[in-house]
Amino acid sequence: MNYKQKQNIKITGLLPAIISVIIFLLTSIVWNVSTGFYVLGSIMFFYALMIFYEYYRTMHNWTLLSVIYMIFYGSVLISIAPYIGLHNHIEFTVISKVLIAITIILLNWLLYLNYKKKLKWRGIEILELAAQNVEQTKGSHTDRPLPTGKVDFSKKQLEEFSDFFQKNLLGLTYVEENRIVFMPLKYKNEYFALYNPNYNYQEKTWVAINFNGNVSVNISKADYLDYKEDLAFDSLCNSLSDVIIEFIELFIDGSEVRIIDKMDNLKINIFI
């Protein structure tokens, strides 16, 4: 498929793993491998806490599985930590063996879910859908939102769709005094959006619908530059607005599956 967006694989998603390994190596060198395992196990518990916050924010069920996996993984590391390095080999206790077995099962489950795109943030798919049929033009980007029209959704419908939007990792939503902001979130951008207290979503890509039905769209420069071509910005904003409105209509009709199908049909790599 000829994608409109650059298909670059970013390493941002591996950052937590890279940081963990560095800390593990440093503590193992400075103290000993056993301490390294204790520290690494503690880091996994910390990650579990962070991922739990993601679950709390999105209510995405499979995220809870990641939390459980992290807890088990951390427990494995801590359970074997006292037995490392004593006789130049690792002794596994019964508890360790049980924990390892459960961890391996959870890991495989998570890999399968990842393959099925159940753990993927879908911002890139939304932006790809928006770009379809948009013509090219030079220098049309502007750093401000575009009012794209009026819709007739009730506040309750918008709130319910907001829950769906987050629960299926389409992105994050921000409920303001008189509107709801739907921010499609790309895979690997979630760390900044979830854990940075100074994260300014107003500068990112979003579609906002106020409770009077007015729709506004903003596309950040970073997301615009992620397209391979200079797309007509006005059309792109209108198209993004149409995508979200169509999703809401499908949601109200009870066709949530079709929303997911539309994104799955793009067949975008799970690591993008």
């Binding site: 009012p147 902001v181 506004s216 006005d234």
Partner: protein, 198 residues
């Protein structure tokens, strides 16, 4: 009275000798510039200029008289109440009408930064970077609600341009705010943010 005339009158009335000349001209039935100048110890040209200006505003009456066939002017008070009335509406509304007969949209790569107000439905400020490198300066304009709302609905650089009235309707902005919006348009046009298309 238009603004320019009001400025000129105010300028003369603010002179430190204005009160003395008026005191004299009210007291005398009529007086010549040389008589007034000698009485007040001022230069005749200063007094003459002041009296002529007041005559042009119809505050003082200027009459040509002859003495031994030599003509000169005598001045007498005509209006004992001086009012400066400027009808700002009349002054600027017509001008605004002429100033809004064009279509607008944002200029490509304007570089302007628009900050969204808390309610999210309009902009609170627009910042433009003027100059280059270290010499550059940020010009930040705080917007009124209606100006912010207007800019929110300003067409994008690649969109069809719209007239001021069309944008006002689109943004549901009251017509009474048009003059302040036109003022902003002119400013942003000068700053290369907005494109006017006739």
């Amino acid at each position: 009275m238009n603004f320019k005339k009001a400025i000129k009158l105010s300028y003369y009335l603010s002179k430190d000798y204005a009160e003395k000349i008026f005191k004299l001209i009210v007291a005398y039935h009529d007086i010549s510039a040389s008589e007034a100048a000698s009485r007040l110890g001022m230069h005749i040209r200063t007094v003459q200029e002041f009296l002529d200006t007041m005559a042009s505003y119809d505050i003082i009456e200027k009459k040509e008289v002859y003495e031994k066939k030599r003509p000169y002017f005598r001045y007498s008070i005509k209006k004992k109440k001086i009012e400066i009335i400027i009808d700002l509406d009349e002054e600027f509304s017509k001008e605004n009408e002429h100033r809004s007969e064009f279509k607008l949209r944002e200029i490509k790569n304007s570089g302007a930064k628009f900050s969204i107000a808390r309610s999210g439905e309009y902009f609170s400020t627009v910042s433009i970077w003027i100059g280059e490198g270290r010499e550059g300066k940020e010009r930040k304009i705080n917007l009124t609600n209606s100006q912010g709302q207007f800019l929110y609905y300003l067409p994008f650089p690649d969109a069809q341009p719209l007239t001021v009235d069309e944008i006002l309707i689109k943004g549901n902005i009251d017509d009474i705010h048009k003059p302040e919006i036109l003022d902003l348009i002119n400013e942003l046009y000068d700053l290369n943010v907005i494109d006017k298309i006739n």
